[in-house]
């Protein structure tokens, strides 16, 4: 741990990237074949997912080992930090595309369909009688009758949960800097438990949404026009990121149990913590723009 090389560490060649490429070949080709209705697609996807897991274990394994062995110096650490920061920036832009779709539909597409601006004849000839409103499944009422997802109940509870997890990770962050391992383990553990709780409740909310109105549900589905599309794509991709973030938190938690992080050297922790703050803020954006405004 003590030894820190003054040279920038350049690995000597690594099999993991090419393994990852093979994994993605199987995964993507398999998924595409499945979408085309081919039976072997699923097998290919399974193989790909398996290889991908193998790759993740191998790649992260060697990086963690090198980190623990003290091969990385300050400068390598900074490269990782910058890399993570810009990776998250790219994630922000990915979500921005979907938020953009939401704003576009609400502020432009639906008003135009309702005859706004110079679109009187669009409305009069193509969709007579359609009035701009939100939520909407469009003038053709794609997906049929549905109810909107309100902000009360599960969504509000989930917001509270995710915010609490933001508080706990911040406390854990203070703890790792203070070298208080007990506190770190406790609050990091609490964070991933809250994360999994969020995912579980989100799944419950989805099931509630998907159930028919007659059976006490909302009949709200991915196919419920632009409202269903934006609702499920935004919350779905967010849920995926929370799941990934929770898995990363669990990995970091186990590393903490093995005594990995010190007040000086804890990039792995900070990267995951930062990622967690990012998914947390995305959720706040969702809660405001998808559930409330």
């Amino acid at each position: 741990m003590e030894h820190s090389s003054d040279r920038y560490y350049i690995p000597h060649g690594s099999p993991w990237p090419i393994v990852g490429s093979v994994a993605l070949l199987f995964l993507m080709a398999g998924f595409a074949a499945t979408l085309n209705g081919s039976g072997i697609g699923k097998i290919s996807m399974l193989i790909g997912a398996g290889i991908l897991l193998f790759m993740l274990f191998g790649w992260f394994g060697i990086v963690i080992k090198e980190s623990v062995d003290g091969i990385y110096n300050q400068q390598v650490d900074r490269s990782f930090r910058m890399g993570m920061a810009w990776f998250i920036a790219s994630e922000v832009m990915f979500f921005a595309a979907f938020f953009g779709a939401l704003f576009y539909a609400r502020q432009l597409a639906l008003p135009w369909l309702g005859g706004d601006g110079n679109n009187f004849f669009t409305n009069f000839l193509l969709w007579p009688g359609f009035e701009n409103a939100w939520p909407s499944n469009g003038p053709a009422e794609i997906g049929g009758e549905y109810k909107a997802m309100g902000p009360w109940g599960l969504p509000a509870l989930n917001t509270a949960i995710l915010l609490s997890s933001g508080v706990t990770i911040t406390i854990a962050h203070h703890a790792v800097k203070a070298g208080n391992r007990k506190m770190l383990v406790a609050f990091l553990g609490l964070t991933w438990i809250l994360g999994l709780l969020f995912v579980g409740l989100q799944a419950t909310e989805y099931m509630h949404a998907y159930h028919d109105i007659e059976h006490g549900g909302l009949s709200l589905r991915l196919s419920s026009g632009i409202y269903g599309s934006t609702f499920f794509m935004l919350t779905g991709f967010h849920g995926l990121h929370v799941t990934l973030g929770a898995i990363m938190l669990i990995v970091i938690w186990f590393r903490t149990l093995k005594g990995h992080f010190s007040p000086e050297n804890h990039f792995g922790f900070e990267a995951v913590a930062w990622y967690w703050h990012f998914v947390d803020v995305v959720w706040l954006g969702l809660f405001i723009f998808v559930y409330w405004l």
């Binding site: 909107a148 911040t170 706040l284 409330w292 405004l293």
Partner: protein, 72 residues
Amino acid sequence: MVLAKLIVITIFLGILASLGSAMFYLVRDDGKSGRTLKALTWRIGLSVVLFLSLFVAYAFGLIQPHGISPAG
């Protein structure tokens, strides 16, 4: 109505700014200084304020979910 929405969005922008500055310090200070943590603490605090202000605004009838006013 519109003012309440603007306030909510302003607080959200504040959260984004604090998160962004946390990212900046994460890289700039190599996690050595307390600035990253301070910015993140700000962003948590603001988030809680935002969450509560949504409820308060609703209680006073300033905002409605999805902007739809209740019938009548």
